[in-house]
Symmetry: D2
Subunit: 177 residues, 4 copies
């Protein structure tokens, strides 16, 4: 069975978005990219602005949780309607976050990808990109992988985005899971 | 029955996005914003770059049509899962485009909103915003409204975005359709 | 003598940037656009982030003032080296801010343009654009024009950006001051 | 004598902007960042849009050359007025481009920095960032360094931006040239 969904999980500034763009370039079929950051941008400014505190911590309230669950259903329905989708998420709840995706994606062929980047490197890249609250990268680097199960893992501290994408694409195309 | 989806239709540079942000600010409940532009940004660069020609014309191919249909199913599923959603679209096919939304949204309480802006004004705003191919605004200003049925119409050439949003919000809150 | 510099002054969300883009489109010769916002973006993140408080107030410290003076010298030197330049600024100090530009621009042919927009309209556009701290537009709408002398004034609450630009361009091309 | 200007030269997608942000974070004094990309953004859309061809080649016309020279004078004047400045440029003309900077910067204490990144790596990062015409990175990777003399060289293919910035900052602070 062919992979229908690729879920990338990694901390802030771990390089997920760059890998997604490379994946879209190297995979032979067109894949849509859905990101938790785009979901956050779709929220009212009042909800969005209270999300990240000044030390880089993320505060998830019940309204966010409710809307995020609806968003996941929507992404899953997009796949069921025939689109290949790459999801770029940050599993702040580790294994529990993965579980929240498993339900809407049940029955679909999913490739789970861990995007690792050691905390110090991600923190440096957070400074270099200049558009993120400082501290998110370091706080999330290990946290998001706790208890999560992957089909493929890549390490952006030592591998370029394009090479990470090629590794993932090979797993997609082999389809052996 | 309470409005669950607001669909805004208008040509490029007619001011839809500004109205959406104002709607999110004035409506008492949180609404998610989904835009055709965000969908286009989720596509691979190769598909996206071939979409708008240098004169501002838009070239929809079969792959785009197929993925867009899947996206519409996903937006509808997000609503069915309990999120209120504002959709910001450009009905290049007029009434036919509206029909393509009616199917996935069937059974939901939808408010259809026409965002009008006379061609000359929209063309001027296209120059002022500076991030769109010249010609799109003028080509789309009338075209997108052909045969489309609305619950509310607003005119951004003569009304500020916030006032347009208040008109739409009043219709949402009255819920009388 | 031909106009060498156009200085646009107006509050946040009064529509200066849109007018600048239209001016660049309608003026027959190429004009460079320099904006106080671009200058702010050129500062270190630590200085930049402390600039606007959560109520939309702007806090100018001595380091900012010193660097801004150097920036003005640089813009003036660009003009003296032969480039036509449109400056997009916010005169938080009113007449005093104008005086600070007069010194580096002395001997050059300057067109001073007031970009007016009533506070309530600018505040609505601030919500519509969604990328500014709420409150800046209202606080600055009147303040920035106090005691400032203009060659041309435009009102974006009642005139489209492109028409404002045409009015300014006519003054540039007539050159009669 | 203390360094007053840092000039970073490197090809497209070599990582200059990230290094500049890190430099601004690690240097104890505030430094302003001026980039050739920001200069290009200050030009009228008509000039800007014709600059990069579809294969990633860059077409410099006489108007661009004239305005760029005026911009360099402006940057130099900003430094002479007391601001520390980091310049982020692409020496398409190699040694000749460096010479064009030497004239306006004469008498100032300049640190020349080469930002190297092997062509294949830069080309991969060009795909990952997704906002550049494909081909620029590869065409410029070697070209921009031809005959250029540096005080410091960094290699972003093997060193993180923050570490590159620390190397450059050490040279700035030692001031020994």
């Amino acid at each position: 069975m062919a992979t229908q969904v690729i879920v990338l999980n990694g901390g802030s500034s771990s390089g997920k978005t760059g890998i997604v763009r490379c994946l879209q370039a190297v995979l032979p079929e067109p894949w849509l990219a859905f990101a938790i950051d785009t979901f956050v941008d779709s929220m009212p400014a009042s909800l969005r602005d209270s999300l990240v505190s000044s030390d880089g911590g993320v505060n998830i309230g019940p309204e966010f949780t409710r809307l995020e669950a609806a968003w996941r259903e929507g992404v899953a329905a997009t796949v069921r309607a025939g689109a290949r989708v790459v999801i770029d998420d940050v599993f702040l709840g580790g294994a529990e976050s993965q579980e929240r995706w498993r339900k809407p994606l049940v029955g679909l062929d999913v490739l789970w990808v861990g995007v690792r980047c050691e905390a110090a490197v991600a923190a440096g890249r957070e400074i270099a990109r200049g558009d993120r609250v400082r501290g998110m990268a370091e706080q999330q680097a290990e946290l998001v992988h706790r208890g999560v199960e992957y089909d493929v893992e890549v390490d952006t501290a030592h591998t370029e985005s394009l090479d990470c994408a090629r590794t993932i694409a090979a797993a997609v195309l082999s389809g052996s899971r």
